[in-house]
């Protein structure tokens, strides 16, 4: 026996055809004699149709541009997007030597992978590493861009960690990095077509 309470409770199962044959027949019998449930059933069915036919709202035309600028801010404000092995910037000489090598390697990497013209080789001396202002383009936005962003983030991360360090060490250092990312103005890509940064002067005094 199906009563109004039971009918209402399982109305969706009925409308979506997930009742057993027996149940279904019992529900149909109830519908045949109960005008109230018949009306409710029709209205809920109508509601379902109406809901699925509602206009689909879309993002505004500026959505992609806003997302790009949000991501750009994200990159600049240090949410480190890519993960790097944490290097402990201790003040011991070996670590600095390692750092120096790293920056030289970085320079070489930039040279090889990105810099097409107007190159300046990174100058490294015992206590000074200079990476001069460099702009590198990313011809294909995928592979090489990832690399460039990694480098940008890497340098930015390092510079922050250097800045945070206590100045009263036996060395002084300054590393200025300005990361700039340019975005395609007219397409939907959320990522820069071009990244440049300026990294200057790490000086180490012993």
């Amino acid at each position: 026996m199906t009563d109004c309470y039971k009918f209402e409770k399982r109305l969706s199962d009925f409308l979506e055809g997930s009742l057993s044959t027996n149940e279904k027949e019992s529900f149909e019998r109830h519908l045949g004699k109960c005008a109230k449930c018949r009306e409710k059933s029709e209205q809920v069915q109508l509601l379902r149709n109406t809901l699925s036919a509602l206009p689909r709202h879309k993002t505004s035309p500026s959505f992609d541009a806003v997302l790009r600028s949000n991501i750009r801010r994200e990159i600049k404000n240090g949410g480190s997007v890519f993960r790097f092995p944490k290097i402990n910037f201790a003040w011991q000489l070996p670590v600095f030597a390692a750092t120096a090598i790293l920056f030289i390697a970085l320079g070489i990497l930039i040279d090889q992978a990105f810099i097409r013209n107007n190159q300046l080789s990174p100058i490294a001396s015992a206590n000074k590493i200079i990476l001069e202002s460099r702009t590198f383009d990313t011809p294909s936005p995928h592979k090489t861009f990832q690399e460039s962003l990694k480098i940008t983030n890497y340098v930015m991360d390092r510079s922050r960690s250097l800045e945070r360090r206590d100045k009263k060490r036996e060395y002084s250092q300054s590393l200025q990095v300005k990361g700039n990312t340019d975005f395609h103005p007219n397409d939907t890509r959320s990522f820069p077509s071009r990244t440049n940064f300026r990294a200057t002067t790490v000086s180490v005094r012993f």
Partner: protein, 201 residues
Amino acid sequence: MTKQPIKNKPPTDEDLISRFQNDDLAAFDLIVHRYKNQLLNFAYRFLGNTEEAEDVVQETFLRLYRKKHAYRQIAKFSTWIYTITGNLAKTELRKRKRRKLISISDMGFEEKEYEIEDLRADTARDADEFLKEKIIQKAIDELPIGFKQVIVLRDIQELSYEEVGKILKIPLGTVKSRVNRARLKLQAKLKDIVDKNMIRQ
């Protein structure tokens, strides 16, 4: 069957997120492209406000960007991203409620919703559709959150019961009965609004 011509098949969501987790940024763009409109519609129907919905979807993609490694292959990607949008939208709704408690002055807004000069549509049919949509959205807005969630996910976004259950982290049986009750409630509300509206006109 043995050789699968995968080349022409579009990548699955799970392919894309896995590529993005391996720093393929083009995959991120594809995900954004694939999901932005459906998430916007979801957030809009849930919040009833375009600007808030847009913010919520922006934030969703930022979180994806920031926390891509939080996604694990055990879940469907769509479930995961819908959960993020859903949670953000819920938070937004709560914030708004708090704001509303403070300002009693916008209590008169209900009258305005149905005024004809509000309609941008130029043909009678469009106006009719527009009005209908407004009324339905109004009724959805008035539903309790739990009902609103299931009705939007199931009947508007047309996700399966299973997926709705996973997004909301509630058992399948509960989803089904909640959807049913939500439909009945919404239907009753609509009837109410339409009746009131008739009287006003």
